[in-house]
């Protein structure tokens, strides 16, 4: 039987089968689910993020690690809910209206989930109204807006305005990202945070919420 400390390596190397097996065994053995997440799973995904940013890992390594993490999380999550353990944050994420691109958005969602955040993924071509409704309905404290095109990027500003108009601006931190988006642009439209990569989005979300 695998040692619980091997869960870290199983996620880091993207060994889905092993990550699920170790988690299952540990939980059946009475292991505290929160400790599993905090001590092994999130640190493993943090290391994946570090290696990704250092060009030691690339998208394939990031995706198989996220898959292993998700497999383990599926076993842990019901127990965390039962214990009323709150996620690191509740994130509404989507690609803005008129834009059908989702690759970058999906990578950010995967890494945020691996970082202990709950994800409400609205998909692509999402209107300001849908973002506002999801923020209110789900009680989100972070919203992530993605755009690939310079022509759809201005939609981010409209969404921030809609959130303000709906009286939800104080409830959420707004993060923006996507190929043409810059820190300067994020500041200009009144976003709280920006990241140019999926791993950095986790660090930024934690910074904005003061967690981790």
């Amino acid at each position: 039987m695998s040692n619980i400390t091997e869960l870290y390596d199983a996620i880091l190397t993207g060994n889905h089968k092993k990550a699920v097996e170790i988690t299952d065994t540990a939980l059946k053995g009475g292991q505290d689910p929160k400790e599993l997440v905090d001590k092994y799973m999130i640190p493993a995904m943090d290391e994946v993020g570090r290696r990704f940013e250092a060009n030691e890992y690339f998208v394939p390594e990031l995706l198989i690690a996220a898959r292993a993490m998700k497999g383990a999380l599926n076993l842990v999550r019901p127990l965390l809910l039962a214990q009323k353990v709150a996620p690191a944050g509740r994130v509404v994420i989507g690609t803005v209206k008129g834009d059908l691109h989702d690759i970058g958005k999906n990578l950010v969602a995967a890494m945020l989930e691996g970082g202990g955040f709950e994800i409400i993924d609205l998909g692509v071509d999402v209107s300001a109204e849908k973002f506002v409704a999801a923020i209110k309905e789900k009680g989100a404290n972070v919203v992530c807006l993605s755009a690939l095109l310079t022509t759809t990027m201005p939609g981010m500003k409209d969404i921030i305005k809609a959130i303000e108009t709906a009286g939800a601006r104080k409830q959420v931190k707004v993060m923006v990202g996507g190929a043409p988006v810059t820190k300067q642009y994020a500041d200009q439209i009144g976003a709280d945070g920006f990241s140019d990569n999926a791993s950095g989005a986790v660090t930024e979300a934690r910074r904005l919420l003061g967690v981790g």
């Binding site: 060009n55 690339f58 998208v59 310079t150 759809t152």
Partner: protein, 398 residues
């Protein structure tokens, strides 16, 4: 000095800057000569004025800003703006023969969902930005579905144009740069398999992925082998598009082990027949895989997308002698005249050095105004000595 001699000089430690302007060819000032001199770091009176084209929406937006209504596509726009161009031999290098039947699956007021000729199910927003569709499903999922592709990738003379016997001698009398395709080892399979799925396949089924790459390489070499003895091409154009802002969708190791050796086979064949420049189109941050391309003989990068991390000055600093096309930051061009001039001045030393064909680092988006685009082209001719004559009075642009 040709490219191989330039590379040898650089290997001996000579800085690429010192090679600029060395050697003069005997050719006249045709567009082909200018292209060759530019790419081989030789003195040239005017550099070719090449561009990447426009997003579908851009010309429509510009019509409201004064673009003549008869300018409706890339060809008419190039003629209007005075942009030069190369030609590419119409060879079906590695396309699916036959392609999958186009099939509309669903259509409503907002969206059209269809299966395209590559078997991929896509959705287009009829109201929004139509330049890039959303991919909903990819048909190539495993070994069984690969068989539906493999039989469509058979080599044969039908991949050449029917009039090749007449085309080839005409090409050999040309005065413009002529390109031939050199295929795609990862980008096209990515279109068939999907971004997420191909990244997973690197680990889940590397043997199948390598078999796909090998099949494509063999097909490309077979097709090139049928035409290269007939025409000396100036350059070869590949297409990958496998990078985004954070780097490539396959890792450096996969690139080194699987992709680089296939490109070596292709570029060795090209060079055996006098084609010394091999160019690939990959957006995004290419820095992690430049070594892999160069080792595979792919010596020219396009479109060198600055905002994504592929700065042409940085590429030349890290890989002296590397050839590039593109590299003008579209984000800066969107910021108005002062920013446009600053971007052009920034790149001016690289143009002077040679081996660099400046142009937009991707298609021109519609947030760039017609006035700013004209100003960019004016500076390109004034500061860089780019060729081409516009159909309007450029002296009044400013």
């Amino acid at each position: 000095m040709d490219y191989e001699e330039i590379q040898a000089e650089i290997q001996r430690g000579v800085d690429a800057k010192q090679l600029a302007g060395k050697g003069v060819t005997n050719g006249g000032p045709t567009l082909r000569d200018r292209w060759r001199r530019t790419m081989f770091y030789q003195h040239v009176d005017r550099i070719p004025n090449f561009e990447f084209g426009y997003w579908a929406e851009t010309l429509n937006v510009w019509h409201a800003q004064g673009l003549p209504p008869e300018v409706t596509d890339e060809a008419s726009a190039y003629a209007y703006f005075g942009i030069e161009n190369w030609k590419t031999a119409p060879v079906n290098l590695m396309g699916l023969m036959p392609g999958f039947d186009h099939l509309v699956i669903h259509e409503d007021a907002d969206y059209v969902t269809y299966r395209n000729s590559e078997g991929t199910t896509e959705r287009i927003n009829k109201q929004g930005d139509k330049s890039i569709p959303q991919h909903l499903d990819f048909h190539l999922k495993d070994r069984a579905t690969w068989e539906e592709y493999r039989w469509r990738l058979k080599p044969g003379p039908e991949r050449l144009p029917a009039n090749w016997a007449e085309l080839a001698p005409a090409y050999n009398r040309r005065d413009y740069p002529l390109a031939v395709g050199m295929g795609s080892m990862i980008g096209v399979p990515r279109n068939w398999i999907g971004f997420h799925n191909i990244a997973m396949m690197v680990y889940d089924d590397p043997e199948l992925l390598e078999e796909i790459v090998e099949t494509l390489c063999t097909l490309v070499c077979d097709t090139l082998g049928r035409i290269l003895p007939d025409v000396e091409f100036d350059f070869a154009t590949g297409w990958e598009d496998i990078c985004f802002n954070s780097g490539p969708i396959v890792g450096v190791e996969f690139m080194r082990r699987v992709v680089t050796p296939r490109y070596q086979r292709i570029t060795n064949l090209l060079r055996k027949h006098g084609c010394q420049v091999a160019w690939t189109d990959t957006d995004g941050n290419i820095l992690p895989i430049v070594d892999g391309f160069l080792a595979g003989g792919v010596n020219c990068m396009f479109p060198v997308e600055v905002h994504a991390g592929s700065d042409p000055l940085e590429l030349r600093r890290r890989w002296p002698g590397i050839l590039m096309q593109g590299g003008v930051c579209k984000m800066r061009i969107a910021e108005g005249k002062a920013a446009i001039r600053a971007e052009m001045e920034r790149l001016r030393p690289l143009v002077k050095e040679g081996g660099f064909l400046p142009g937009f680092d991707h298609r021109v988006p519609s947030n760039i105004t017609l006035a700013d685009y004209r100003y960019y082209l004016k500076l390109k001719r004034d500061l860089f000595g780019a060729g081409g004559v516009p159909q309007y009075d450029e002296s009044k642009v400013g």
